[in-house]
Amino acid sequence: MTTHTHHLTRLTAAEMAQKLRAGEITSVQLTQAHLDRIAAVDGGEHGIHAFLHVSAEEALRTAAEVDDLRAAGGAVAEALHPLAGVPIAVKDLIVTEGQPTTAGSKMLEGWMSPYDATVVTKLREAKLPILGKTNLDEFAMGSSTEHSAYGVTRNPWDTTRIPGGSGGGSAAAVAAFEAPLALGTDTGGSIRQPGAVTGTVGTKPTYGSVSRYGAIAMASSLDQIGPVARTTEDAALLHELIAGHDPKDSTSLPGEVPAFGEAVRTADVAGMRIGVIKQLQGEGYQQGVLDRFHEALDALRAAGAEIVEVDCPSFDYALGAYYLIMPSEASSNLAKFDGVRYGTRVLPEDGPLTIERVMGSTRAAGFGDEVKRRIILGTYALSAGYYDAYYGSAQKVRTLIQQDFDAAFEKADVLISPTAPTVAFPLGENDDDPLAMYLNDVATIPANLAGVPGISVPGGLSEGLPVGIQFLAPIREDARVYRAGGALEKLLSQDAEPLWAQAPELAETEPAAAAEPAEAAAHPAGK
């Protein structure tokens, strides 16, 4: 790999777009530089393993198309989307025609979607080369990407540690300069928590503001697709591209998409009321995380923000309510994986061959432990005699949490908290303790229960590992999280390189290995 192409992968998406428009670089060069980087750092025993599938040929074809259109000049070149030619990675929960979609599960090994998700259609229309599909916890169930059926993803800051989850692949790809942009999904923090522990930026948009058509559903009243990037501006530009009403998603919000990029470029917190959530700090949060959090508050205060404390007593029950609502919805959504119409079918080893028994053996073999745990838990919470006590109560807590948000947003324009209670933990640490794993999402879950937008931006390091700062805003006020997040990003990089630029250099495999087709490194896609 030459220094020249290495340099290309370290630009921000906004800078890449600018250089493409100016004719300083081509999309083929840019895309190839990222494919080379993937080949150099993603494979091997200690590789990042952010990608489950790399689609070099398709990505280069799109890149060449953009270069031709730009070279032709005139109205066609003018009409290109600002991000045209900037490569992107897509979480493997989002369906793509022509590239396999596994959801990180054996259940969907080799499955080829006959259609594109709406967000993927938007990427194709804007001509962003799609580099491939990124690793995740199976069906997005987890906080560490250790529950993928295809192996763990490693944190580029310390490859013995988790990259967060469920979208660890998208966050790690962006942090390791394998892609400047990625798509994620966030049901309880799966965009924001990986962003926090990998020193990158991730946004969960207002529920319904980005189409969920083509995102394999986990918990439909909580799931949301959103942008993953290294800077708030890059996240904002991608967010603008993917947002908007979609008639194919019955929960899609009508209305215009605000200018998020502009919100970042003019970011300023002078006079902004920022509410510190009393319940999302203190016990259970590492001291290093709290130290960076308080430094962020000091920086914001010094820049003219008014820091106030807000009380959200129902947040104490958010985690419990989430772990009733999410499994309940998941148990219903995952009932469709029955080995009849698509996906794996596994026959029982002995006994009569009836469809019920084939379903039982298919789901036993196709689902991993965490997925089974959540399906069983959801089935329990929804069963007669327990429904009111569990699912019913959780829905009431959801109302209380919305009321807490409403009251908090009377006193503050945005709310702030650490994104995750800890820095990235070592791979395997929580293997035998599902409950400890669930606690990672304690600060991100309230936003999903209420549908409000949230962002995680880098807040510095604790013991050499990234800490994330979360901003939350009222429904449809996503621009506010960009204004606040963009301002903090600026304040914290005044006297230092931005955090993403400080990530350790990764060992690259020999050029000979890097020259192999990238597809060879990914898991086999054939049925």
């Binding site: 006959p114 009849v340 794996t344 469809i355 036993a364 006590a389 959801r398 109302t399 209380l400």
Partner: protein, 98 residues
């Protein structure tokens, strides 16, 4: 501790169509009991008067014109089928043999 027994998990697994070994049932019963204990506070947090929220947005009855949009062909629909015959999904016996 919670009251979830191995027999409860066996019943739930049957409802969820997941075959489980004895060892899996034992392990899952223990794990579920811990999780259920931790979420029990939720039912203690709410009194009767709070309305339930099933969805973050008050969207109801989204209508559209009754027009045929894009539809998959039979071939596309069967592309990922584990087994197919004569343009249909092929499955094992629906009913028990006896």
């Amino acid at each position: 501790m919670s009251e979830i027994s191995r027999a409860d998990v066996e019943h739930l697994a049957k409802l969820a169509h997941i075959s489980m070994t004895e060892a899996e049932l034992e392990k899952m019963a223990g794990e579920l009991a811990v999780i259920v204990d931790s979420v029990r506070s939720v039912s203690e947090a709410v009194s009767g008067e709070v309305p339930a929220t099933s969805h973050p947005l008050p969207l109801t009855n989204v209508f559209r014109e009754d027009e045929v949009g894009h539809v998959f062909t039979a071939e596309q629909s069967l592309l990922n089928a584990p087994d197919a015959e004569a343009g249909r999904f092929k499955v094992p016996a629906i009913l028990d043999e006896e």
